[in-house]
């Protein structure tokens, strides 16, 4: 059997294994191990297991995932989240789906700091879904929102995806950050429109409340002022260069913890419970990363990414068709392998072709980012959807029926940026000419 055949066969078996009820991460590790052992050597494959496990667990970047989840947990257990949602309810509860809109805003900021889409979805699945339950929101809407909002931060600075793309392609990272802003805002607005339109059509999804007077609204402010102050402190600290976004996980969590202990909203027992639950949610996300790392190393030695890329670039087809094919490859590749790892693998191969076809490299980077956003919410490896399903104990069918409308607006966003490249290139050309 050729390496490519082995690779494709292993991927198919992995998908079949998913249906046996085995943990997805374990299925990926098993197939990655068997494939690598068959193609390279069993000794090497055994050693690879240990190395990949060790490497992912000790990496600095993944260490902060449980901390971000912990910030959400403490907010939930100490009632901070409740107060925030009560205030949001008083202010925008009269708009159909208002609380879902507030969640979009909160999660976008959170993801921009946290950097991990699954961790954002995990946190908001814990915090926002029960709150929306409280206001009788339909689970389709609430889980659909939290499963997709985590993706928005991929376009917003400081996006690690864009940083890595800039380094690979030798483009200015500052320009890429600027390029992501308009498409990111556009898709965020689409999300809000989806929520509004969907709730208008079906008011039971996100029931609107009466309109509250400004007096009643202002009364909720003292309760949330201090929390909003902490959040602005964290954002300000990042922008002002006092700490990095990864460090913000610790600083933010620490501040929320101190606040909760001082206000006696939470005791030490509550804190221990919060840490225990955060560790478990983070474990769930990180085991999937381990699985995709082992499987990814196997796929790498099959050379499938390189061969597919060479094939597409060599196709004698119209340029738009090649571009669509390339997006498609990113979509599938990013599903099995960690999407950042896949970008490092595939971008250098596609990049010269994109330039040759006459496309703008900066615009291509934004297109790739949108493709990655779509990739994390569609099957087979819809990590964010899985995470939300697991935490909220909601059936797949329900989460998915909530995800579709948002997915459509992501795809629509991609199409618009495809036909109007100016959306990505205009801001950088004005603010950072030359």
């Amino acid at each position: 059997m050729s390496e490519v055949t082995v690779g494709l066969l292993a991927l198919i078996i992995t998908l079949v294994l998913f249906f046996t009820g085995i943990e997805l991460a374990f299925a990926m590790i098993i197939m990655g191990f068997l494939g690598f052992g068959y193609l390279v050597s069993w000794n090497a494959a055994s050693n690879l297991l240990a190395k990949d496990f060790y490497d992912v667990l000790t990496s600095y970047g993944f260490s902060v995932i449980p901390l971000f989840v912990l910030m959400g947990q403490i907010s939930f257990n100490s009632g901070i989240a409740k107060r925030l949602f009560n205030a949001a309810h008083k202010f925008i509860g009269h708009i159909p789906g208002g609380l879902a809109m507030a969640t979009v805003g909160g999660a976008t900021v959170f993801k921009a700091i946290c950097g991990s889409s699954p961790a954002t979805s995990a946190t908001f699945a814990f915090v926002a879904v029960p709150e929306m339950d409280r206001f009788h929101y339909d689970r389709r809407l609430s889980t659909g929102v939290v499963a997709t909002v985590g993706t928005l931060g991929i376009l917003m600075p400081p996006s690690v995806t864009l940083i890595v793309y800039g380094i690979i392609t030798d483009l200015s990272i500052g320009k890429l950050f600027l390029g992501g802003i308009l498409p990111g805002l556009m898709i965020a607005i689409f999300f809000l429109c989806v929520i509004y339109g969907w709730c208008k059509l079906n008011p039971s999804l996100g029931p609107k409340s009466e309109k509250f007077s400004w007096g009643e609204r202002v009364k909720t402010l003292p309760e949330v002022m201090i929390v909003l102050f902490i959040f602005s402190l964290v954002i300000g600290g990042i922008m002002g260069g006092f700490f990095t976004p990864t460090e913000a996980a610790s600083v933010g969590t620490f501040l929320v913890l101190v606040l909760s202990l001082i206000r006696k909203d939470m005791d030490i027992k509550g804190y221990i419970q919060s840490t225990s639950e955060s560790v478990r949610s983070a474990c769930m996300v990180i085991m999937l990363i381990v699985g995709s790392t082992v499987l990814g190393h196997f796929i790498t030695v099959t050379k499938i990414p390189m061969i597919t890329a060479d094939w597409i670039v060599g196709l004698n087809a119209p340029s738009w068709f090649i571009l669509i094919m390339i997006s498609f490859i990113y979509l599938i590749g990013g599903s099995f392998i960690d999407d950042l790892a896949f970008m490092i693998l595939a971008t250098p191969i596609f990049y010269p072709a994109i330039i040759k076809l006459g496309y703008d490299p900066l615009w291509f980077g934004i297109m790739i980012a949108i493709t990655v956003m779509i990739g994390v919410v569609i099957p087979p490896m819809a990590i964010c959807v899985f995470v939300v399903k697991q935490i909220t104990k909601t059936p797949f069918s329900i989460v998915y029926s909530g995800v579709y409308p948002f997915l459509i607006s992501l795809v629509l966003g991609g199409i618009i940026v495809f036909f109007f490249p100016g959306l990505a290139t205009w801001l950088p050309s004005v603010l950072m000419p030359g």
């Binding site: 046996t20 009820g21 943990e23 260490s63 610790s250 225990s276 999937l288």
Partner: protein
């Protein structure tokens, strides 16, 4: 069987608390580093200590996550099977997972031995790496005990 499951839960919870403590440690460490850095006296090597602490936070959390079936799986297909078939499928996946983690644990011990022999240490603080390797290896072995517990639950008809 009840005794074994009781013991297993206690063990997993204990490891969960260790994991939570590690998490608290990296939080406090980072906050101290950020504050002290402002005064020009950062805690040198925070970067690598957070990485190692995170390994404990995640590694020690693996068994408890499995104990409460917290890892992501897809069961809508299996649920359509008759009860007897379901049991069989679950037993097979538990056995496969148990074998996998035994093998990972064993290889992590070998890897930790290599780290010990070669004297590999962290870049700045020169903290030896091998204890972390043994630690994660141990977590994988405890994970196997969880799968044995799962098998008991399946045979006793208590698995979901």
């Amino acid at each position: 069987m009840a005794g074994y499951l009781k013991f297993l839960e206690k063990l997993c919870m204990l490891m969960n608390v260790i994991a939570g403590t590690a998490l608290t440690f990296i939080m406090l460490l980072t906050v101290s580093d950020v504050v002290l850095r402002y005064f020009g006296r950062p805690i040198v090597g925070t970067f690598e200590m957070v990485g190692l602490g995170g390994a404990i936070a995640i590694g020690f959390g693996i068994p408890v996550t499995s104990f409460y079936r917290g890892h992501i799986f897809v069961d809508f297909f299996v649920q359509r099977f008759p009860k007897g078939h379901q049991k069989l499928v679950h037993l097979v996946t538990r056995t496969a997972s148990c074998t996998l983690f035994l093998w990972i644990g064993y290889n992590l011990f070998i890897y930790a031995n290599d780290l010990f022999q070669s004297g590999e240490v962290s870049l700045t603080r020169q903290i030896p790496f091998y204890p972390i390797g043994y630690g994660i290896g141990l977590c994988c072995l405890v994970q196997c005990l969880v799968f044995i517990g799962d098998a008991m639950k399946i045979l006793g008809g208590q698995y979901e």
